[in-house]
Symmetry: C2
Subunit: 239 residues, 2 copies
């Protein structure tokens, strides 16, 4: 009887892990396709990204409900309790990543009829490539409980923020050069901001991996580098 309980308990935890892994796969795909859709101006692909978000919402709700039931029924302690709490946290971050990718896809639809130099989009694509790598690495680290590799992801977030800052200034300059760029560049600004925030959520997941392994929260300050909040560009600089 006791063995049976332990086994179905392990099954519960394995189910949670599997669902997180599925969510991670969906979120990665959504992000990659939102970025592709933006570069290629592919509204059909963008619509597919928008539709995919529903699955992520369903999975998150399931994970949360199952985690709460698991705590109530099995009363897990120590590492098992941390694993359950971590599943709730990571599923929350992955759901938000899906929302942000969906928001990029919606903007692809908005700007699809505006002819714009491809060059402006490439900065966003480059940033998106880096964040996709971060997301892949942190999901691998979560699956293999690899705290070292989670720390690497955590450290690298500063570089993404720096890239966002320079992109922010660049887009502002394009707007000042030609008012016809304003509507397009504003949407790109929000796309870039979304990518930066996806980076923040991968950092959250890295922090959760640390908590899962050690039971402690990372006390040190994040390698934040968000100078764009202070950035202004004077008209005429790029004109």
């Amino acid at each position: 009887m006791s063995e049976h309980i332990v086994t179905s308990y392990d099954n519960d935890l394995n189910d949670l892990r599997r669902s997180i892994s599925e969510m991670g796969g969906v979120a990665e795909k959504m992000m990659a396709e939102a970025s592709q859709a933006l570069v290629r101006r592919d509204t059909v692909l963008a619509q597919a990204v928008i539709a995919a978000d529903k699955r992520l919402d369903v999975l998150q709700r399931e994970i949360e409900e199952r985690a709460v039931l698991l705590i109530a029924r099995r009363q897990p302690l120590a590492i098992d309790l941390r694993e359950t709490i971590s599943a709730i946290r990571v599923s929350g971050d992955l759901e938000r990543i899906g929302d942000l990718a969906k928001n990029i896809a919606k903007r692809v639809v908005a700007i699809s009829d505006q002819a714009q130099p491809q060059k402006i989009v490439l900065g966003v694509q480059h940033m998106s490539d880096l964040v996709q790598e971060q997301l892949k690495d942190v999901l691998d680290a979560y699956a293999s409980r690899d705290t070292k590799s989670a720390h690497d992801v955590w450290e690298r977030d500063g570089a993404i923020d720096a890239l966002y800052n320079s992109l922010f200034r660049e887009l502002l300059t394009y707007m000042m050069e030609d008012p016809r760029n304003i509507s397009f560049c504003t949407h790109l600004l929000f796309c870039a901001k979304n990518v930066e925030r996806i980076g923040d959520h991968t950092t959250n997941i890295a922090e959760t991996i640390h908590y899962l392994a050690t039971g402690e929260t990372l006390a040190i300050e994040r390698p934040k580098n968000d100078a764009s909040n202070y950035a202004t560009v004077l008209p005429g600089v790029g004109a």
Copy 2:
């Protein structure tokens, strides 16, 4: 002995409630002051908002740790378990609201030296007033476990999104009218977006109140009205 355990358990839950209430107070104050700082171009007040965010981070961490300890030690069931899970969720939303208010304050510092017509700021202020009311109402509803009033907050989020959409178009038009407005209006766009996202977090809290009371998640779609993702403004419209 058993009575003693029950008493200290109640104490634990009361402590959680008190901390959530303190977080709510700090978040409300930060939001009100960020908005004031923006309207008055008050960088001293903005710096105070930036400094206040640390307290919110500390409180959130404490609530999460205490909630996890409470689950581990007391193994709460049914309503008590939901109360504990809800505390984790609400503290997460309040911490994010603080981050967003802090981000508005940082932008106040960025645009402090730019002379701009006050009129443009008033739209953001109006939206911020509405969201502050939502935040106050949802915190009251959480304290009094008032699901009806939580539903009211939830319903009203659509109006905030509609307001954000019209503000988005208005700011785009100002940028096209005069390139000297671009840097300033871009920061205002992000301020407005932050206010809209604070509205989303108040909606999250309303959903948590529903879960706390019923044990079920709100299955119906949110009254989302985020057409600004699709909005574009043609140059020349406002010029």
